[in-house]
Chain length 115, copies 2
Amino acid sequence: MSNNNLIKGSLQTIILKLLEENERMYGYEITQRVKELTEGEIKITEGALYPALHKLEAEGLLSTEIQQVDNRVRKYYSLTKDGQKEVTSKMSELQGFVENLQRILTPDLKPGFNI
Amino acid sequence: MSNNNLIKGSLQTIILKLLEENERMYGYEITQRVKELTEGEIKITEGALYPALHKLEAEGLLSTEIQQVDNRVRKYYSLTKDGQKEVTSKMSELQGFVENLQRILTPDLKPGFNI
DNA sequence: AAACCATACCTCAGATTCTTATGTATGTAA
DNA sequence: TTACATACATAAGAATCTGAGGTATGGTTT
């Protein structure tokens, strides 16, 4: 991740959610997508991403498929059945956490961490 | 802390923000306040809290004042000048991060991680 | 009286997750 | 040929947590 060490553990959720939307993605593509979506503000480092992908695969949440594209090897990741269930779980967990964070940090405004 | 390992990194911000609102607090009080504000969903463990407090003090963001209350020693923490500046910084950092998280995770709805 | 829980501080081993650096390999642009 | 982009990977070290343990006081339960 970029400069901030905030909310460690959200990388897994990011990966799973992107794969829910995109069917299949490869590692480098994920880093670029996140950079693009956040206008360069969040940069996922390879040292964080690849171990995370490997772990999710080892847990049976992702499956892989290696493919040759322009003399380059790409390792595509997709959600397994378990992975699809886990997205929902991880997302509501994160949502709940942000909700609680907002309760602690903004005692004045009740609804929403609005932007 | 509760079940989720999401909080890493946001604990400092929580401490600083609570002290911005409350002038001075002691460790145990902070754990109770957070538990109270989140209806028991986030429990700050002592193993996380005390080292965090000591670190913030060592960085000059907090000052301490020991006080005897009912035969019990309390260590009150307050924001220093530097600490007061840091709250603003840490809060906008966290705000920005949540904003970016929302961009990644909810591509459909543009405004707000609403609750 | 003994056991237990609440208050209040603390430390430390181990786990997890990250950063930073390094390595391999191909292709393109300056 | 130097540099950058693409594409994978590992590994040392830092940072932050969990969970267990320790000390001490005082109230409540059994």
